[in-house]
Symmetry: D2
Subunit: 465 residues, 4 copies
């Protein structure tokens, strides 16, 4: 409620856009598209529509289903629409930061939305400020818009301006831009964040994940290429390949944790990828046990794969409470000491007296794993063998995943044995990086694995970090 | 928003109550308890506390986590507290109906909350109206309260009055009553709805399901007996067994669908019961198939049991979108015809080209099953074999489950073969009643199976139906 | 927000009802009618409509203009409608108390609204409680409804029942009752609270004050007689005069302070009454001064009359800030000590260096008068002569005016001289009771003057007080 | 709710700022200051505080008393604060436009608020857009901020930058700027909009009108000079007089209509000015009549002056309903035809059978006057003589008053006689311009009278109009 202007922050988000060539209700399609992408951001949502060159929009803090109702959608008419959901970070965020960013520049109205993080946004922003520009949000999207708006006066079209801007910005970004007559999608040259093209009738649709196409009855066409700019204008699709590179570095964490299991990213279905990770993990770090369980929800598929590979029974180990609302009061320390536990409850019948393999997708700080191991022991597990379907996270992400500072990553300064002891597990195993890289079967892209290796996909100055 | 007084409606709800002998914050415990019981009712919630004989309360439409915040809870202090969550029915409900019902009668304040349905509530209400009484809500709880308040003047205590009232009311009910000095719990003589007793320190807690004890760090003590009245007063527990009967008729649908998997009801864990149902179903109605999937969430455990029993691989067949908010706009017919599908999305990799066994907990109208079979076929399933972990529902429930009118139950007027054709399945099998009755392993109670057999646990007049 | 059941409290309210014989939108007429009566109650408002025997309603805390919008009114269709606005008392009131009270009794739905105070409501309530009745609100209206609902079973019609109930209740009440086919208005036998009959086309309208008729384009017909019951049924008006008495005791404070200046009550326009009070006050307590000012708003007319009578210039002495909203933060003691004053600001140009006569409608506790005298002195007034257009308030009201306890009435235990000193005035004068009684020129009724004389219009037991 | 980016719109607003040298709660003082200035803008309000160089703020649509509560104010701590209330225009306004405008530029955070209208804002904006700048609001304040931010890089201080910017902007503006260490106030070189300096203890306060000083217990020091820039830094006041001119053109309409009667502007109290206008009007356009009434609220003082001058009795002619809330439903054409009238109700006793002089502050379109004359005739007035305390409005204002287009001004294309006939008055008289200019007795400034004369205070291009 109380707000303050902060410097650029990274975020992880979901995008949806539609250029209507049929008689679809673009705002309503965007509503359902965003709803399917809600897992990519529960903090805020917005939809902007282009009604004959004038942009109308509605954006608020909250869930898609809470922000939009019949009345609001009924006022949003337009031949083009873009929508955005934003990730909830710990920090109180500003209302001004809610996307799409809607602005008026020399050629009329424009709306922009993005997913990713520009690592040199602050530097550019400072440079622009030194030239007399001011900023009203803390987003790197406003920085990108400032470059774009300036570049536009030197170029014949907004897409040509975007080509220039893409030479200046560094980082991970998938981008949707709506101008009076165009819907433009772009992906950074390393293709670090996903963005796909779909079609519904004669209309073109863009979405962060293919599950949004399923939701609105559209057909998946293809992923936007790394570095590609696609322009939909007059109902026709054009593509600019100036920045397209063969070197792609898709964030592998999209498969591990972030994307919805039913999405197909770069040719690989996320659920199958996780199942496969479980199988490889089983081969690399087998365990003798009575049951394999997964930590809901992202650990479930890997647990099924692990169980199948070793022939150990798979079971559900926890029930997860799913009703957390906007003002949910998390138990205080005092309440937790009194035994209040609200999110996960173990299924005692499955755990009691058994040797349990517990599969989770990752260990970041180690605190959650420790808590869950204890839950299982309290529920009567004889042994708890923890298996993780991604390698130890040793380095921070600067490209849109909100990982903590490096020194708070437990794997950064502890060995696997030390971690095992800290979390109280009877054994601990991580999938190897090599193993993980085999999981997106059929994926045609390269991957960014910097959080596991420190090999960042581009050179970064100290300032950019 | 716009409201109207209607006649008594049945409902399905969750109860939580605490009599504090320690220094617990009763309102906050009730908040977490209700949160754990949220699956029993998402329409409205309320908490009432007893502060030295004066009852303060807060109740609203919405989810527990949306209704209560730090400010509201901070105003609710009391040595006793009861809370209630209510089931969302299709019909617009009245704010006045939100429980707990708080009233002032000859002995001071009283708050009541219940779960169940009194089949003779309307008759009693009409009789009371003919005597000059009026009603401000549409709940059968107000009818019960009217009887109780009247009976109280003929008895020495509220519990004695309750004993009398229980001779007059017919139906299923679990009940919590809070008076200036007492917390009272009661269950109908057939024990049709669950209600359990727990303890946390020296404090007594009541809850509809044992998962609420886990949530607040309490220990499960026992189920309230059918017909039993338990009084907590001066920190001591007393019990009245006048109505206690050996003939119990617990609603078996609690295991099949309604209760949380981690709850233990009448000695049987719900998850295990469902797993067992899957196994028995597999024996009774095996299928040749490549994969067994469950319809989330209540079909998952049975699917696991079915798969295990037959040695067919278990897999997740669907991703379910969980972000439905209060004002969520369900796709219109027009949108659905355009392919908008928002709740379930099949995991194509698991389905495509496979012979699929799809497990669901029940078939009521048949429309959902038909829709899901089609989803699977569209996703490429070669065959879809539907198996249902409860027998065909042929009769309406009058005891708190909101089943449709009998003629809308597909199994009431169609054979299994006809249903199979109507839903488009390649084969269809239901667990037998005998099989279902074996699933609550260890349960010490009898069951109401009226919805499968029409053998209602009590005689009912036409009017009561 | 947090609520608790309290015992019966008195209140002061506004009523509006319409029985439609034309094609009027009854809810919308009621909306404008209530809006015109908003000064009679800013705490809450409600409208109930009778749609073929079923009552729909909407009621909330807040102002009429905040509670109802196009959407809400669009859902309220009915051939009969009643509405109510309620006075804001210091104490946090319960949502359940918001009127109209809507209930279902043996003959169907009924909605009731009233203005006044039943002095024996608590006794009746206790007696009813002892018979087993409980109450869900703290209003005396619920007590009246309980009597009415009971009486109905002994009588052929609700109006006959009302005749009986009126023999049992003591106090001041104007009443509207809506049943499936009737709109009923009644006034207590002393006619203590106003209620008028109007007509718009062929439709009948009832309102607490005639200004509401002006607002909706209706014509004032007459005041309801003390003790009269009017029934509108099948578009026809009938009247029951059983309780009609020649002895009327209209609350004279309606003229002094509460009613809107443009209302005509019992034949006398309120503004003119106040003007006349000023003139009489001038004759009884003249002052030598340079300017006469009134305390806004109820002191303005009397000030004009006072000025005119003595030939002293009238002027505005204060500007009043009118933007106080629901969550307005009143200045804390600390802020007031820092000089923060928010409601009244003196017009220095009118005050400075002058001998000022300040007219107010009444002195209750004396604190406001003291504050205002000080404001004037600080603004440079040479002398401040306070004149009050009602006699000293020496007794509490038990009939609907929310006066403080008798010992907090400054005139109860202080002489005029003492009051003058306490409030810091250079002189102080009150109109005489005899003078006040001459002010409603043309009024055909008798008056209750108990707050000035202690001569209450009916005998009261200690308990009733 | 639904928003769209529009081009620059004019507005009329209220400003309050405080630089704390004592221990005042700046946000709370600003709250009360804005509350006193609420009449200058009821559409939205905002407060920004400077907490050690970081700006926190809260701004919303609605009234000051609805937007801010204890919780919100409790989060706003700062040594400097500025606040703003904005005028409600017919058009739906954007949330982004709510002031203060908070931004980050090369020297840190800055918050700005203004009152007025820059006539060349659109031209500057277009020029800046052509240079690549984009805009996120429709305010001319954002244009000013863009110039200021750019100028800052060429100057040593923000105040020096402001000196430069003031050479570029044309129009009426009073301005508050808050930077990490400074509170700056400025007024356009013609001093067209008011802005005053006050002091409370050692703290400096700025406000649009002196009534805000009264509200917070501050002392009025002086008006900001036309063209003056005042800087408060380190608790000290500095002034820059570069643009100070002897030629001032204060908007005379502030006295006529807009300012609060208790404010003292340029040395003249508004109430007294209006009183004087009534007297001069009486001399210039006397009438034979029985009563003089004013149209509330701005016509009341003039009516008192008029009555006094001619010795005709003054009376209140109308009661005004003051409870219009945010969602108030104005009567539809259909309702108005049914006689629904909600804002003004005539006091029949004062009007009936009398020759009435009705004083209003101005005639713009003529429709209101016509309506009110009719109201009076319907209430029984024998004659209605309309007298207007400002000259005929013949020209549009481009400096912050939201007058309609010139052709909609009735006095632009009709003679006084024609207007009289159109509004149905028995006679009509306007004060002369010469007369009006005599009313601010003691005012030391010159006045803009363009709306009466077309002599605009600066040259304007077609584009600027």
């Amino acid at each position: 409620m109380i707000q303050s202007k902060e410097d650029t922050l990274k975020e992880k988000c979901g995008l949806f856009g539609v250029y209507n060539c049929n008689n679809w209700n673009t705002a309503e399609l965007t509503y359902y598209g965003l709803y399917a992408l809600q897992h990519r951001g529960q903090e805020s949502a917005g939809i902007a529509v282009n009604d004959n060159g004038r942009i109308f929009y509605h954006k608020e803090m909250g869930l898609v289903s809470d922000i939009f109702d019949h009345v609001v959608l009924g006022h949003l008419h337009g031949e083009i629409a873009i929508g955005h959901v934003r990730y909830a970070t710990a920090q109180e965020r500003m209302k001004e930061d809610i996307q799409p960013l809607v602005l008026k520049y020399t050629k009329g109205h424009m709306a922009l939305a993005h997913n990713g993080n520009l690592i040199n946004a602050q530097q550019i922003r400072r440079r622009l400020e030194e030239q007399g520009t001011f900023f009203q949000t803390t987003t790197d999207l406003e920085v990108l818009a400032a470059l774009l708006s300036r570049a536009r006066i030197r170029h014949h079209s907004i897409e040509d301006a975007l080509v220039e801007v893409m030479t200046k910005i560094k980082g991970a970004y998938s981008l949707l831009i709506m101008t009076p007559h165009k819907l433009i999608a772009a992906r950074d040259p390393l293709g670090m964040r996903p963005l796909s093209l779909g079609k519904k009738g004669d209309s073109y649709i863009f979405a962060s994940e293919s599950t949004a196409f399923d939701a609105v009855g559209a057909t998946f066409i293809r992923d936007i290429l790394p570095g590609e700019i696609i322009i939909i204008q007059d109902g026709q699709l054009r593509t600019i390949t100036t920045h397209v590179s063969t070197l792609s570095r898709m964030c592998i964490f999209e498969y591990v944790y972030f994307a919805r299991p039913d999405s197909i990213i770069e040719g690989a279905e996320v659920y199958e990828t996780r199942l496969e990770a479980g199988k490889i993990l089983a081969k690399e770090c087998p365990a003798e046990a009575d049951i394999v369980i997964g930590v809901p929800d992202s650990g479930l598929a890997a647990a099924q794969g692990y169980a199948k590979e070793l022939g150990i029974p798979y079971g559900e180990g926890f029930v997860k409470n799913r009703y957390v609302g906007r003002t949910f009061i998390k138990p205080s320390q005092a309440m937790r000491e009194q035994g209040v536990q609200i999110k996960l409850n173990p299924l005692r019948s499955q755990i009691k007296g058994k040797r349990v393999v517990m599969i989770d997708d990752s260990i970041v700080r180690g605190t959650t794993s420790k808590y869950i191991v204890q839950l299982l022991k309290d529920a009567g597990a004889k042994e708890v063998h923890v298996r993780i379907s991604s390698p130890p996270v040793t380095h921070s992400c600067y490209f849109g995943i909100d990982t903590p500072h490096r020194q708070n990553l437990i794997a950064n300064n502890h060995s696997v044995e030390e971690i095992q002891q800290k979390i109280g597990a009877d054994s601990l195993g991580f999938i190897s990086l090599k193993g993980l890289l085999q999981t997106p079967v059929g994926a045609k892209c390269g991957f960014c694995t910097a959080c596991f290796t420190g090999e960042y996909p581009m050179e970064m100055t100290k300032e950019e970090i």
